[in-house]
Assembly symmetry: D2
């Protein structure tokens, strides 16, 4: 049985139709720096999908680039951004935001990775006492969150209202926006997100692209200055066509959403299976990340054939692991995983029962 990985949603390459598109368009001479016709098409397709003719869209090579450029573009030097303790920018980007000069204000911990008007309000108040504090000016959220949970429309609307009343901009990191928008719990459209945020981005890397994220900007003047920001940060690719071709391919015929749905489905299968065996979840499985709480012996057994991250060591000795599925996850591998968990659990409980009897 070959090893299989649930480490993340970027272990494989790119959806094959993207490679076909790269091949087909390869020798066409195009303008550089995302002024090519594929980027034009991609921007138009995405604007249509959002139903926002006035939106400015820019394609950048990485999620960290999307975040750091968006934040540095929106803030004055002394302004700060509010994020949850689990926010990607706060913990997993090597200080990228701070390297642009901006403070990240961390809110009180959240159980599910989501910010609320209350948490934002508290962080705002504690940091608005006087000019000796970096001034809160933006709120950062991820959808899906780093824990795989999603915002409902009413949750995002409440957050949006709170931000506007406090003169805070709202930025949504959409590294896994595909998964969020296609999960059963979702009740939002791209248009809702466009209306309720100031800047958001649609992640390609984690949903079938080789690289690339599409930043969607409402403010026209900010949108126009973005190419400067991108060039300055090393994020304006000479052959921007590679980004355009991918987004055109992904947004044609809703491939993007079909890929995301597959990721969610395979995650749901794993989650349901483990729950039916009696295991708890550390966070609800709403999208393509599963965080089961498992006994160490089962984890060791699974590690013989599967790769995944151990996420937390709980005080009772059990382990939280993280299983991530993606557009390329094979359902057959998922089934093998579930079967192994089932077999171990059955064996283990029989043993236990036997011992009990004795």
């Amino acid at each position: 049985m070959p090893r299989y990985g649930f480490l993340d949603d970027y272990s494989e390459g790119v959806h094959p139709t993207v490679i076909e598109a790269l091949s087909r368009t390869n020798l066409s001479q195009q303008k550089a720096y995302s002024n090519d016709e594929f980027c034009e098409d991609a921007r138009r397709l995405i604007r249509d999908k959002i139903n926002a003719p006035g939106a400015t869209i820019h394609l950048v090579p990485s999620g960290t680039a999307a975040n750091l450029i968006s934040i540095a573009s929106c803030l004055r030097p002394y302004e700060a951004i509010i994020a949850a303790p689990s926010g990607h920018i706060a913990t997993k980007e090597s200080g990228a935001i701070e390297s642009t000069g901006h403070k990240i204000i961390i809110t009180e911990p959240t159980a599910d990775g989501k910010l609320t008007p209350e948490k934002v309000g508290t962080a705002f108040n504690q940091n608005s006492l006087f000019a000796h504090q970096a001034k809160p000016r933006m709120v950062y959220i991820s959808n899906a969150t780093e824990m795989g949970t999603v915002y409902t429309r009413s949750e995002l609307a409440a957050l949006s209202t709170a931000c506007r009343s406090l003169d805070l901009l709202l930025l949504m990191d959409g590294a896994r926006l595909g998964a969020a928008l296609t999960c059963p719990k979702n009740d939002m459209s791209l248009n809702d997100i466009y209306n309720l945020t100031d800047v958001f981005w649609i992640g390609g890397t984690k949903n079938g692209a080789l690289l690339g994220e599409a930043v969607v900007i409402k403010d026209q003047s900010l949108g126009q200055s973005f190419p400067y920001h991108m060039k300055q940060r090393g994020a304006l690719l000479a052959k921007g066509r590679i980004l355009g071709i991918q987004f055109v391919t992904l947004f044609n015929n809703d491939l993007f959403f079909r890929l995301a749905r597959h990721a969610n489905d395979t995650a749901a299968k794993i989650s349901t299976s483990l729950v039916s065996l009696g295991f708890k979840l550390w966070a609800q499985t709403e999208t393509n990340q599963v965080f089961p709480v498992l006994p160490p012996a089962l984890v060791r057994e699974l590690q013989k054939n599967f790769d995944f991250h151990i996420w937390e060591h709980l005080q009772d000795g059990s382990l939280v692991i993280r299983l991530v599925t993606g557009w390329a996850t094979e359902m057959e591998a998922v089934e093998r995983f579930c079967a192994l968990a089932y077999a171990w659990t059955k064996r283990s409980r029989e043993g236990y029962t036997t011992m009990e009897k004795l």
Copy 2:
């Protein structure tokens, strides 16, 4: 006759064998963030080619990223980098170096885009008077230069010696290093460059890759810290494999060098042809950039069928244009270009002669 472009060396996609390699490796599960086996292979291949087993090699998505990360990695906050007025970092990167906090000290103008020990020495002396000046600590050169010229081994050795005597690091921007190393005038190996510089990078984007530059670092401790710098600047791709696969493909069987040679050959053809028609060159054609000085009427004629940049308006009314060839430049298009120039020139001179006679 279809239009054809000599705007730059990044108007087309990628060498087809790269697309084949992407396709072939696509579904293999790989570690993220350039820890995959392709990146490993690429680094090993490049190290072998340089003959530098101790070199650290990191792959980044763009030339600006390569420059800004290299410079920010090497300098203390108050240290500055010396560059020629034509240096890419000084004029074409939207203040990317300054955005990392570092001053670029501009030397006296150079006729050919190359720095000399004298020019570096003068800039160093004028900026080493006291602590009220940013302290020179690094020298930036490009090879090939922005004017298409190349350094000889003795020129680079002299510069290297000068830098060491002044405690200056030497960085070589190799966006067009392929062209430099395969041009007739070149007498250097990659190993020479490794020994004579502190950091240099090998450009993929302008020589057959979709994106990607390989930064070569001598200092071990600097090399080890590079992943932090890359992540922090948004330049650590989740699917770093795309960079690895490309460099593996390009450095196998010296494809990289064959592509560069083709670019040089097509440029030489254009250059020779125009010179034989009696036109002057604004800069010697040593690699894949040609800067002929042409009469406006000829430029207008050429523009009917070809795209290129007008580079300078000279005082006598003539124009400097820039023609760039690349790995994908079609020799047939080059021939059409030369034929058009020849026809116009002949016609024009006959007319002139006729008029003269009258």
Copy 3:
């Protein structure tokens, strides 16, 4: 009865002998930028006091300047500094550290404002998982802390050992170092602090100077580069003499320590008095800051004649106020304050007793 302020330790000007010194030296022509003879004398005096002939000492105009320059000087771009949630750099400097590009990693909360090897170790481990986290490289502590507490020699030694074992530099913010070194609990000398830290600074502004802090640097190469850092940050005063004259005056005949002792004594008087009336303290009074927990009615009564900050609203309705004394605090004002508290408390309890009886 005139109003009197316990808002902070910088409400008054400067010790009168400093004004005399400014007047006496005023027309002497001196070299600029802290190359004058007074700065020379100040540096020598402080080095003698520390008993560290090899120490480099630089005088800067403000505490925030001392912190931001020290931190930016020591760290590489991707490196971070660990601080307590109450650390001045984390909450009261408008993002000054982040504006230099560096992340502040916040430890678990501390009851007394002090860091321990455990807290540092936990923060270090949680931020050393991989290159996607800003790399911890320095620890920031204040002595006295923002809560008025001080480190003992053994506490600092333990922290120093922990830092060295984790390859972390240790920076001590000494805005109130005078108060720390002269308080009853202190068992450290300046020499101890020099040996146990990498950089520390001696605060003038909060202990009798108009402005100015003396940064003490062990590493010679760092020390030599400091003037560049200072100039670059706008912290190299043309008439650096003003800093030199003040530190010479303050370190002659231990005036600096006598002033600090007076601040501590007046704070102790207030603290003892309130404790004897039965009020609790939110933090131990170890130096010149007192944090009593008082009923709102008493706070209102005190506010009629005194200025101070309300620090916290506790859940039981009582208030934490902050009273700060300084070199210029008048003992007579302290006595008036204590008398007012005594009178109100007595009155209030009698009333209560009377009501009880009914």
Copy 4:
């Protein structure tokens, strides 16, 4: 004969009435961070003097702080500032502006240190080609310039008009604004400067203060955010009173202007005297800096009794020296200097004449 210095205009302390004022106000308890009554008074006095009731005024400790905070406050990250090659920010501030992330675009050389609409226009055009260049957004001038020259009203008006037509802000560095406004050539008022610039600052350090510059800001929203910028850069002094007291003293009864006039008068005396001896000037003496071109032997003679900087070594062997006078320059020392130059010149010419005769 005691040595005397013409090195700069900050070799002495502060005008004695400032020391008196410091002494008189010393024990008054005041609000911190420039919220004290002296700063209030200073701001009001300066606003009155400018005749600009809507101006926001902030006091900062150094000229570099004034420049870096003003520039960082006005620009977006990718925007650049245009300056003359001799501009203070370009050459004498250790990369302070670049450390805030902004590029300085250097214009063509100027003979007199002054920018013109043409020079600004050329620099603007060369840097407005596309998003690969830092975008020009502000122009920096000094008045008096680094060469001691001043702008006339019509020159400044022309520059202002040019800036507005190119959407460029105009910043005037007024480190020596006192000297500029009181020199014979000046035909501008503070109100003119306020109307023709966007931000300017009035230098205290070089005209009778110990430290301190008053930044004058027209834009209300920028003005309100300035305290954040100041705190973040370490330029918000706890005892801001020291700045307030000095500016109140200097702007009462026009002391500021009388001091500047004295500096100009002593410089004029030196300049006239040397010119009358037949020596040339490297730059016109318009304010308090004199740049005579002298033979090395005279320079050596003068160095026996006077300190000054050698500014340039000219190709014919002669030297440009810089003599700076200030508020505290003693007319008696000036006379000694002139007498020495006269005596040497006379002696030297007699010798020469004698030799000629032979």
